[in-house]
Symmetry: C2
Subunit: 272 residues, 2 copies
C-alpha cells in the first residue's frame, strides 16, 4: 500500500502554457515543492493565446491536457491566464485528474488582500475580455469592484528583454493610468509574463498598491490540493521534462532566462 502510494505520488505535475510565460509558474512550483516531478508543455506553434478566440484556445488546451494525461500526470496546472479564462470549466468536465488555473488562485489572494475593495486587473486582451478575474473575485466577495486593462505590449516587451528602462516605464504609465485614477489598492498581474515586469511596475505605481502575482498564488494552491489528497512527493529530487510544439532550441535558450538554466532537454511533439 505504502509502495503504491509512493508510486502515485511520484507521478509528475503537468503544467502548460502557450509558450514561455508559464515558466514563471513552474519556477514558483519548484521553489515551493522542490521534490515534485514536473512536465511542462509550451505551445510555441500557437503562441500567443491572448489575441485568439475562445474556441481555438480551448481546442489547443484540450489537446495539450490529453497529452499530459497520456504522460500520466497526477494533476494539471493551466499556467496561462487566457487558457484558464477560456477553457478551465470545459477541461474540468472532460479531464479526470485535478486541474486548476492561475486565475482562481490570483483572484482569491487579491480579494483577501484588498482593504478598500477596489482591485485592478492587467492581462492580455483575451483574459481581460473574458472578465474571468472579476467573476472569480465576485464569487469570493461580491462587494469588490474590479477595473481591468488589457496590456498587449507587455508580453513582447518581456520577450524582447526590455523589462526596465524609460520606454517600458512610459508604456506602464499609459496602461495603468486609468486604474490608478480609480483608486485601486491592489493590482493583479493577470499574465504569466508580467512577474518579470514587477519591479518596474512597482516603480511606476508606487509603494502603496499591493501587487498580486498569480504564479506564486497558484503554486500555493497546488500544494494545498496535493496535501489535501495526500499526494505530495516527499522524497528525492524533482526531475523536469519539457515539451514544445515548435523549435526546441529557441525554447531552451529563452526558457533558461526564465528558469535559471534548469532546462536541459526539450522535445518537440505534434498535438494536432
Amino acid at each position: 500500500m505504502q509502495e503504491k502510494l509512493k508510486k502515485i505520488n511520484s507521478k509528475p505535475i503537468g503544467i502548460f502554457d502557450s509558450g514561455f510565460g508559464g515558466l514563471t509558474v513552474m519556477a514558483a512550483v519548484t521553489k515551493l515543492m522542490p521534490k515534485e516531478n514536473l512536465i511542462y508543455f509550451g505551445d510555441t506553434a500557437h503562441v500567443p493565446y491572448g489575441t485568439k478566440s475562445k474556441k481555438i484556445v480551448t481546442d489547443f488546451a484540450t489537446k495539450i491536457s490529453k497529452f499530459l494525461v497520456k504522460n500520466d500526470v497526477k494533476m494539471i496546472v493551466i499556467a496561462c491566464n487566457t487558457a484558464s479564462a477560456f477553457s478551465l470549466d470545459y477541461l474540468n468536465k472532460i479531464i479526470k485528474v485535478p486541474i486548476i488555473g492561475v486565475i482562481k488562485a490570483g483572484s482569491v489572494m487579491a480579494a483577501k488582500i484588498t482593504n478598500n475593495k477596489k482591485i485592478g486587473v492587467i492581462g492580455t486582451e483575451g483574459t481581460v475580455k473574458s472578465n474571468a478575474y472579476e467573476k472569480e473575485i465576485k464569487k469570493y466577495d461580491s462587494k469588490v469592484k474590479c477595473f481591468s486593462k488589457a496590456c498587449p505590449l507587455f508580453v513582447p516587451l518581456v520577450e524582447e528583454g526590455w523589462c526596465s528602462g524609460k520606454i517600458t516605464e512610459d508604456i506602464i504609465k499609459v496602461y495603468t493610468k486609468d486604474l490608478l485614477n480609480k483608486n485601486i489598492d491592489t493590482i493583479i498581474l493577470g499574465c504569466t509574463h508580467y512577474p518579470l515586469l514587477k519591479k518596474t511596475i512597482r516603480k511606476v505605481i508606487g509603494s502603496k498598491i499591493s501587487i498580486v502575482d498569480s504564479a506564486s498564488a497558484v503554486a500555493a494552491q497546488v500544494k494545498e490540493i496535493l496535501e489535501g489528497k495526500n499526494m505530495l512527493k516527499t522524497t528525492g529530487k524533482g526531475n523536469y521534462q519539457f515539451f514544445v510544439s515548435d523549435s526546441p532550441e529557441k525554447f531552451k535558450a529563452i526558457g533558461n532566462k526564465f528558469l535559471g538554466d534548469k532546462i536541459l532537454k526539450v522535445s518537440k511533439v505534434e498535438i494536432n
Copy 2:
C-alpha cells in the same frame, strides 16, 4: 479561345499572410489592379510567424498554398516576409501556379534606389535571421552592403494602434540607431505591418533616407508577371474573398482598419 482566356484571367489572385499584415499588400494590389479578383488567407490561428521556426512556418505556408490552389487561383503572393524568407524556394518547387514573395520585389527596388550602396533592413526576428533580403539584394548587385535589425515590438505597436506618438518614436529611435550610424541611404520596411509606421519612421530617421515599402513593390511585380503572361483581368470590378484560421469577427474588425471597410464577409477554414 477568347472566352477561355477570359475565364482563366478572371481566376482570383491568392494572397496569404500570418494575419492582418498582408492586407497592406492586398491594398497595394487592389489599388494597382482594381479589376482583379482576390482571395486573402490570414493564418490567425498561428500568427505571428516572425518568432517561429523555418520548419513549422513552411508547413503552414504549404497547407495554405494548397488551399489556395484548390480554390483555383491564377497566382499566389506570399504577403508575409517571414514566410517568403523561409518557404518561397520550397513552394516554388511544389506549387504549379506562379508564386512570388514580398522579399524579392522589395530587394530589387531598394538595390535600384540606393546611391551609396548601403541599405538597412528592418523586420521580424525570423526575416532578419534568414538574411533573405541581403541574399536577394546581392543577387542584383553584389557590391551593396546590408545592415539589418529585428524590431519585434513594431507588430504589437501597430496592432495596438500606436502608430505615432512619443513612445513609438522612442522605440523607433532605439531600433534604428545602429543602422543610421552605418550611414545607410535606403531602408527596407521588411514586414507588412511596418507601412503603417512609415510616417513616424520618416519623422525619426529624417528626410534623406529612402524608405522602400515592399507591399507596393510586390504589387508592381504581380502586375508585371500577369501582363507578361497575358493574364490580367481587364473588365469588370474585382471581388474579394477572405479566409482565416481563427475568429472571423476579429479579423473583420481589425482588417477593415487596414483596408478601409472593404471586408464584408470572412470565413473560417481548418488548414490542419
